[in-house]
């Protein structure tokens, strides 16, 4: 069973230095470009190993898809920021929405992430830390550099 998501009302941490900042319409038409750009930057910065690309891609897809589906799909923008420092990288994906309440999340996870919390399990299998900021509107993933 997936743990309840950690939701903080404030902004995500600004650790390290910004490496990549992208703003795209909240639409699946831009999903592959966002996903590929983030993976490319993680690989180029040796933040993930080549052997981790597949799981990293699955993890980041779940985070992006959740932001598109539950955020402002077709109405707003996704803001993505990749940062790194002190041997860690972090990725913030802000859907520009109003967030969500942990009380509204089924005990087995976020239903929209594939049901029965599979999306969260996939994300947690890769990153060390998974939280939501801005009341749930901003997913924040963090992991040690392993490249």
């Amino acid at each position: 069973m997936a743990e309840s998501p950690a939701i903080d009302p404030g902004p995500p941490p600004q650790h390290g230095e910004p490496l990549l900042a992208l703003v795209r319409p909240a639409d699946f038409a831009f999903h592959d470009e966002l996903l590929d750009r983030i993976i490319e930057r993680l690989r180029a910065g040796r933040m993930i190993a080549d052997t981790e690309v597949e799981l990293a891609t699955h993890c980041l897809h779940e985070a992006l898809a959740n932001a598109i589906v539950h955020g402002a799909r077709g109405r707003g923008s996704l803001r993505v920021e990749l940062r790194a420092g002190e041997g860690r990288w972090s990725l913030a994906i802000d859907d520009g929405g109003t967030g969500f309440s942990a009380d509204a999340v089924p005990a087995n996870g976020l239903g929209g992430l594939g049901g029965r919390g599979r999306g969260i399990r996939i994300m947690r299998a890769f990153v060390d830390d998974l939280r939501w900021y801005r009341g749930g509107a901003c997913a924040w993933l963090s992991r040690r550099c392993t490249g």
Binding site: H31, E54, G115, R116, R121, I122
Partner: protein, 124 residues
């Protein structure tokens, strides 16, 4: 004809071969699910192999659809199996515990042979 997957019957076993490397966006996932359901509806008790040898990435949403399909097939007394699963997809199946319920085979040929044996060598 779908550009997502092809369907065929080999030795009495239905085989759906996915043609895309990514099954991630909702439209593709829903279209693929509809194709799988249509294939099952033609012969609900027939064994089905889903050949994923050309697939590299799938969404958790697709995994949910596969579990539902597998459950419905179980109810009909049919078997659904996966074939040609990459290391990365196998890892995903393990993370989500789906590897505990849906059998995987190294390739479609081995899946067809195993399912043909399981359904008693039926030919149609």
């Amino acid at each position: 004809m779908s550009d997502i997957a092809t369907t065929a019957v080999h030795e009495g076993v239905r085989v759906v071969t996915v043609l895309r490397p990514r099954l991630l966006d909702p439209e593709t996932v829903e279209a693929f699910d509809a194709l799988l359901r249509a294939t099952r509806a033609e012969a609900p008790t027939c064994a089905l192999v889903i050949d994923l040898s050309q697939v590299r990435f799938v969404s958790s949403s697709l995994l949910g659809h596969l579990v539902l399909l597998w459950r419905e097939a179980q109810t009909d007394g049919a078997v659904v199996a996966l074939a040609g699963v990459s290391h990365g997809l196998q890892q995903l199946l393990r993370i989500t515990d789906i590897d505990r319920i849906i059998t995987t085979y190294p390739d479609a040929g081995q899946g067809i042979a195993a399912l043909r044996r399981a359904q008693g060598g039926a030919s149609g």
